[in-house]
């Protein structure tokens, strides 16, 4: 039992190390100095409070989209639509942020909740179609991503602004950003959203692991027939799973809208938060704590990578390659486990 637990920690750590090592080999192969490269990466992610703040800022939505994808996975569904749910959540948060005039203690929670609701609705559609008609959630969520992108662009221009490319800034009463955090981190855009993200992770953990709702959701994910036999409402649970998943992603949109940017721009393409969320979720083995750790890894790599070209002359695409390799090795943990077992046996 204990050695099993040790394995569960050791394997991802080794995967990450092998990924970094492979990255170093590639850097060497192309004539870059891997030590400088990684030093720049580290510097760029944690070099001083500013970068720590920025890393946390980047980690915040990753946690939430990671949770969204992970939650769906735990209930047997594949939500490729976190991307679209982020967009509608963002839009909804901004809408509340700029149209209402309320005291902060109402305005901010209201904006956050509406964003979660918007994401939830965007998850409800594929959930409903899956539950009622058996339509595969993967296609519907892919399609809804595009619908979200183009519709929100149109709404920004025609409804939320007067033919502008971006909305106004939200009222201060709806903002998640905090002077205190900014001062602490030399003006980084770190905001209180990280608390929401961590809280959401706790909720996900609690819901899935500790409640009868989570029990039902997992059960339906594993075996619909047995769930029906056990008196669960299979259709409702499928819908509920997608709704909750969508709500997490919608919250990620709120983080961007209410925290990082304070507005929303007409966008030419996806935020990629949702797609990266897939990787975060899988890297985190679809568990709440795993998602938080993976989001930190991912966020640090992403933010730190920006420093690599300037500091070490290493193209930051290399970080994409390294991330890919880490994911690959995490995915292949079976083989790492196998090797470890062999080594252990060899010791004896």
């Amino acid at each position: 039992m204990t050695s099993n637990k040790m394995f569960n920690i050791l394997v991802p750590v080794i995967s990450v190390l092998i990924g970094l090592l492979s990255g170093a080999v590639i850097m060497l192969g192309f004539g870059y100095n891997p030590i400088e490269g990684y030093a720049a990466l580290w510097e760029g992610a944690f070099g001083d409070m500013y970068f720590v703040g920025e890393t946390v800022r980047q980690v915040t939505p990753y946690i939430l989209t990671g949770l969204a994808v992970a939650f769906a996975f735990r209930t047997g569904l594949f939500n490729i639509g976190a991307e679209g749910q982020v967009i509608v959540g963002w839009l909804a948060a901004i809408w509340v942020g700029i149209t209402f005039d309320l005291p902060m203690y109402i305005h901010l929670p209201f904006a956050v909740i509406v964003a979660a609701l918007a994401g939830a609705i965007w998850g409800f559609i594929p959930g409903l179609l899956k539950a009622r008609l058996g339509v595969h959630e993967v296609i519907v969520t892919i399609m809804l991503n595009y619908v979200a992108l183009y519709s929100s662009n149109a709404l920004i221009r025609s409804v939320l602004s007067d033919n502008q490319d971006k909305t106004d800034k939200i009222a201060a009463t709806a903002s998640l950003s905090s002077e205190w955090l900014q001062n602490l981190t030399f003006f980084s855009r770190m905001h209180y959203g990280i608390l929401i993200a961590v809280f959401a992770a706790i909720i996900m953990w609690f819901l899935i692991e500790r409640t009868s709702i989570g029990y039902e959701l997992k059960s339906v994910g594993y075996n619909q027939h047995a769930s029906k036999y056990a008196g669960m409402n299979v259709q409702r649970n499928i819908i509920l799973a997608m709704v909750i998943s969508g709500a997490f992603a919608g919250l990620a949109g709120a983080m961007e809208g209410l925290g990082t940017y304070g507005n929303m721009s007409v966008s030419s393409g996806f935020t990629n938060l949702g797609f990266d969320g897939i990787a975060v979720a899988l890297l985190g083995a679809n568990t709440a704590i795993g998602v938080i750790l993976a989001a930190f890894l991912f966020g640090a790599l992403k933010v730190g990578a920006l420093n690599m070209p300037t500091e070490a002359g290493v193209p930051n695409e290399l970080v994409d390659i390294i991330i890919a390799l880490i994911i690959f090795f995490v995915a292949s943990s079976y083989i790492i486990r196998w090797v470890l077992l062999r080594l252990k046996k060899g010791e004896k």
């Binding site: 059960s219 594993y222 075996n223 047995a226 029906k228 036999y229 056990a230 008196g231």
Partner: protein, 512 residues
């Protein structure tokens, strides 16, 4: 005497368990050789080793005296060994023919010559009397026909040695008789057979010799002619087993279940239950006898809320439960041991402990305000596992990892423990060894004696006759006869099940 196949001193380990430990089995040409052992004794494992699916840690396999390294099923096929697996190895969306030729397809110019294949399949099936519809899809045919397809698969590949892993567990009595005939004709063709079964009667009927294993170890091989059912049973279990279930006469009380003029359609919208009437009273076991496909599954699914009734009513304790949701039905006091334990009975990826509360997880003390209390859940599981002798490494083990018999015991423990007024047991002992069967029958009778109403559905006439206090024969969606077990026998029941009227069979019956 020459042996066609010999497995000598085989040892096979799985992580944490020795499934086969120094087992030897030798198959003579032209014999039917039984392999007997409790659930989990290692029979399937041993045969999978012979078939090349598993590689033994130790031991030797010889075919016609020559050592063979069975690296994969291809090698087994090449040496004329074919296997009919306990869980069928059939691709459901494929046709019968496609399944049979898979891996050895006849082609012309790179294209599968389906016509030729179908002809060959038809010829083969005629030759051995294995009736199959060459063009039907597996998912549309009966279990019996699926099994014949499995047999044809081995014959198509020219097998001389056939391994049958519990072929009769899933068959109806008629199908079993047919299968025995088929085996005999195979022997007549000069083939040899290894037969795994838990039904000692079958061994006595058809086998020449029998090898017994217990907990992974070989106990020995006996000549069936010199042995008896009792001897085989005690060899296998290691103690004496009683076959006639001990019970006192039933004392039925008030009516618990009342089914009135029930009509139910199956998933293909064909009406399967056609105006069925049935009553089960407290303190009695009513056995439903019938050939598979006469509406038994639909009846049960309608009572338990898994299927909608088109017409008619179902009452429990005088209250209508017609077309209530499964949850409501369960809460009104119905327990259900489902026929398909993997599909309905268990969430295989949940730990066994969480499966124990599959019907009650949302209730106190297992959850309060929707928060689960794992301590209560696992305490309960520990208790039931001990009480029902479910063999599992721990309550945290995934249900998937348990043997079929132990999975079944877990389900029964869960359903019985809720003390439902009505307990529906569908094929509760399918695939279980005699020890486990004995245990389960005893449990059912215990529950009866506590005043529960029990509805037992089984294709095993033995079981029906043995356990029931009253037998309702179902034919074509209706109850066509009500008989007392002591006033009937297998032959008479068989006739009733085939649709003969009661008068013809000559059983006069005035239970009501």
């Amino acid at each position: 005497m020459d042996y066609v196949v010999e497995m000598l001193n085989i040892r096979k380990e799985f992580p944490g368990i020795v499934a086969n430990d120094d087992i030897t089995i030798q198959l003579k040409k032209g014999e039917i050789h039984a392999l007997l052992g409790e659930n989990g004794a290692g029979k399937s494992t041993l045969m999978n080793v012979l078939f090349g699916l598993y590689h033994p840690e130790k031991g030797e396999i010889r075919v016609k005296g020559k050592p063979v390294n069975m690296t994969d099923p291809n090698v087994a096929n090449d040496h004329g060994i074919g296997m009919v697996h306990q869980h069928f190895m059939l691709v459901e969306p494929f046709t019968v023919t496609q399944n049979i030729i898979l891996g050895a397809e006849p082609t012309s110019m790179g294209k599968i010559d389906l016509r030729k294949a179908e002809k060959e399949v038809q010829e083969l099936s005629n030759k051995y009397g294995l009736k199959v519809d060459a063009r039907a899809k597996i998912q549309d045919i009966s279990v019996g026909m699926q099994q014949r397809v499995e047999i044809l698969k081995t014959l198509y590949r020219g097998a001389d040695v056939l391994i049958f892993d519990e072929p009769t567990a899933v068959l109806t009595p008629q199908e079993i008789i047919e299968l025995m005939q088929i085996m005999k004709s195979l022997i007549a063709e000069g083939k040899s057979i290894i037969l795994i079964t838990h039904k000692l009667k079958e061994i006595m009927q058809i086998c020449d010799r029998c090898t017994v294993i217990r907990k992974g170890k070989g106990i020995g091989t006996v000549d069936v002619a010199d042995s008896s059912v009792d001897e085989l049973a005690s060899l296998m279990v290691g103690r004496d087993v009683s076959f006639k279930t001990q019970k006192t006469p039933a004392q039925p009380k008030e009516t618990i279940l009342k089914v009135n003029n029930l009509h139910v359609k199956d998933s293909r919208k064909v009406e399967m239950v056609k105006g069925l009437n049935l009553e089960v009273r407290a303190g009695e076991i009513v056995g439903i006898a019938g050939v598979d496909g006469n509406g038994q599954s639909e009846l049960i699914e309608a009572i338990t809320g898994l299927k909608k009734a088109q017409k008619g009513s179902i009452e429990l304790n005088g209250k209508a439960i017609t077309n209530l949701s499964p949850r409501k039905v369960t809460e009104s006091g119905v327990g259900h041991i489902p026929q398909d334990r993997h599909k309905f009975g268990l969430v295989l990826d949940f730990p066994i402990g969480e499966n124990i509360v599959l019907q009650t997880y949302y209730k106190k003390p297992y959850s309060k305000y929707k928060v689960l209390n794992y301590k209560e859940i696992y305490d309960k599981a520990e208790k039931l596992i001990k009480e029902y002798d479910v063999r599992t490494p721990s309550v945290y083990t995934k249900a998937r990892a348990l043997s079929g018999g132990n999975q079944q015991k877990a389900i029964i423990s869960r359903e019985v423990d809720r003390s439902p007024d009505l307990l529906i047991a569908a094929q509760p002992t399918r695939g279980l060894d005699v020890g486990a069967i004995e245990f389960i029958h005893q449990k059912l009778i215990e529950e009866r004696d506590k005043g529960r109403a029990i509805l037992l559905v089984s294709f095993e006439l033995d079981e029906i006759l043995d356990v029931s206090d009253r037998i309702a024969v179902v034919f074509d969606g209706e109850i066509v006869a009500n008989v007392k077990p002591e006033e009937t026998n297998e032959q008479k029941l068989g006739l009733l099940m085939a649709g003969s009227s009661e008068e013809k069979v000559g059983v006069v019956n005035d239970l009501e």
